[in-house]
Symmetry: C2
Subunit: 217 residues, 2 copies
Amino acid sequence: MARTTVARRPNAGTKGVPRADREEQIVLAATAVFGSQGFAATSVADVAERAGISKPLIYNYFGSKEGLFTACLHRAGAMLAEEMERIARGDAVGLERALRTLEGIFTLLEPQPWIWRLFFDPTIPRGEERIAAEIAHYTDRITALADEGVREMMRLAGADDPLDVSALTSAWLSVADSLVSWWLDHPEETPASMTARCLRLFHVVLGAPLPSALTAD
Amino acid sequence: MARTTVARRPNAGTKGVPRADREEQIVLAATAVFGSQGFAATSVADVAERAGISKPLIYNYFGSKEGLFTACLHRAGAMLAEEMERIARGDAVGLERALRTLEGIFTLLEPQPWIWRLFFDPTIPRGEERIAAEIAHYTDRITALADEGVREMMRLAGADDPLDVSALTSAWLSVADSLVSWWLDHPEETPASMTARCLRLFHVVLGAPLPSALTAD
DNA sequence: GGGATATGACTCGCGGGTAAGTTACCACCG
DNA sequence: CGGTGGTAACTTACCCGCGAGTCATATCCC
């Protein structure tokens, strides 16, 4: 009867999963929950349950809810920025570049479409310096690419008002966002069919035939 | 010294503000806070403080946080839907109608630009039936108008795929959203200057001169 | 007095965060 | 080869503050 002071903990103990693997698994689960519900509406216990582990393990590895979110931002931002920079380094310009960028985004986001949402979450508490810095870093990189494309397009059209460029860049990023959202509501679409649909929509909106380069894959 | 059982409550009692006035004042404050911080990140005490009254009065008038939010949705949705339906009843079509709609939105949102956000808040807990119904009602009305305009435009361009219409409607609404957001970051802009900017941007994106009717006010 | 307007001071659950302990594995010693 | 200590991987059970929601009361005016 001396054992009464020692609680039984049948599920405790290591399961042999290396820290790096477990961290990735947790970040994946957290990204999904944060991305679909928003930061404030997500509890760490939710993430733990979805990841199939317990809450303290998350705190052991990430320190805090903010630390976990920052890790999600880091992963998602790096993926997005690198893909878009890779496309920007290609030789596509103007609308072809826009379409190629959308294609890249769709392909990248197919397995986990919520990624995008992390960077536009209004429920992140202000004054969280680490989070704000991480978001700024990646949105700056992505916005710089979009801005460059928009500025080139406007220059060709004879317009160069900096505020106009800024507003149109914002609108363009939002279009990309909305198309991803629309895709979320139509899960039967593939990256290829989404890209084809965007090609048709460009055609309609621009009211003129597109360069033939766009129709070839 | 028998008064020790009776707490002093110097600020209690009526201030002579009729319920209807007070309710409107509270809804205004709540809309601002909900719209800028999101539902989950907003506390009822925040709203009370901003409205200059106490928390129990909110519960007395609106019953719950969800009831308060529903009242905000009701007010904002009615304003937006009625304004857009008023414009739709006019004789503008195609791009002119689009620009007139944006103009109406900008004018309507100038005093309280957060209104728009209430309808795209991912932090609203699922399973809140009253909120979901209220949002669905107004977004359906607004989406129906946008869908009608987009369908007409696509028909003229020889396209009529229903899913294409759906996706383009989503993109168009998102463009309106992003322009409002951009405006939030550039508070020196007026509704008129925003409308003029949109006209220029339409011109650039469409790559062709606009109908002269658009340039006249 | 009584109804409408109003509030200070509570309760209570939820969620961020922690303390302390448990189990598995491995390196090393004999 | 068996013990043995160290460490990494994990959990249960808890603390505690914050915020939703309530109660009892206070003030005003007719």
